[in-house]
Symmetry: C2
């Protein structure tokens, strides 16, 4: 059984991560991993379906025992991917796609070095600024904050395996599907290729 891939997709605000991800989902089947969170369930949310709703104590225990593949905090609550669940899917040959921030991506790489890290970028910083300001939905202060955050994010760029420039969503999705396809042929993923070839 050939293992699946753990694909990590990151990108600054305005890179179009969400749109690209939706396009990828249309074109290829990815496994879906239920996130764990410490926030309470909202009306209609089911435990272990929408989220694994767990206590802060349980979540922090998982972090300490390196049982989280990645996690982040938002509005005072933890959100993250349980390592054992993700690896089970990968062992079963499924590809898992995680859309996460740079810090989380570094954690994934540390905990699971075989992960494939892809950074999605707008064609240029100037274009990113144009996109963010062009939306007209956020204040200048918020837009400036996001642009400043991009400088931080770009410091992590050398740790990524691939960089994809988002000129248009279709081309981007094709780039990423090619990366997934090619990675499955990478020699480092076939350490026993010789023995396997000779049927040993």
């Amino acid at each position: 059984m050939e293992k699946g891939l753990l694909i990590v997709l990151s990108g600054p605000s305005g890179s179009g991560k969400g749109t690209v991800r939706a396009e990828l989902m249309k074109k290829e089947h990815f496994a879906f991993s239920v996130s764990a969170t410490t926030r309470g369930p909202r009306e209609g949310e089911r435990n272990d379906v929408d989220y694994h709703f767990i206590t802060r104590e349980a979540f922090e225990g998982k972090i300490q025992r390196e049982e989280m593949l990645e996690y982040t905090t938002y509005n005072g609550n933890y959100y993250g991917t349980v390592k054992s669940e993700a690896l089970e899917m990968i062992e079963a040959g499924k590809n898992l796609l995680l859309e996460i921030e740079v810090e989380g991506a570094m954690n994934v790489k540390r905990v699971y070095p075989e992960a494939v890290l892809i950074m999605l970028l707008p064609p240029s910083f100037a274009e990113q600024e144009r996109r963010l300001r062009g939306r007209g939905t956020e204040s200048d202060e918020i837009v400036n904050g996001r642009l400043a955050r991009t400088y931080e994010e770009m410091e992590y760029l050398p740790h990524y395996d691939y960089v994809v420039y988002n000129e248009n969503v279709d081309a981007c999705a094709e780039d990423i599907l090619s990366i997934i396809h090619a990675e499955r042929c990478a020699m480092r993923r076939h350490p026993n290729a010789k023995e396997h070839y000779f049927g040993q």
Copy 2:
């Protein structure tokens, strides 16, 4: 100007290299490099079009000065690719595809480490044997020699970047086109991505 790729395709007898290469040529444009040779021109062959016809002394001089990307001997004559010509095409953004033996591939990697080495294999050694014997055009002795040669060739497998199994030509060509596509997004091919992004 983004550089092109130097793709090296190797594979044992019965791997279907020639057919896969022809299929690739149909689907994507590759630059074509005129080989140098020490054999004399045949009727109708033009110098610098079909081959660069050069003397043995000139060829061996090029080998000593590391001006050959790869070379081999056949029927007592040298055949090979002149490094400067190949690199000129790559610098101009073109992809160059070389179908060469494992020893030549190792030379390419040494002289031009950015080369992408792809090993094409039949699905298994048993299947390779079936294919070679099934042709019925060569003697048992020749087939046995080719199978024995495969053991030598497989020793080089760990030095290749990708392994592609030839179940069918179409799927193989798709694998290789994905590899080319993905390699162009590889972070190590974009060492100045950050500066470039910020327009510096």
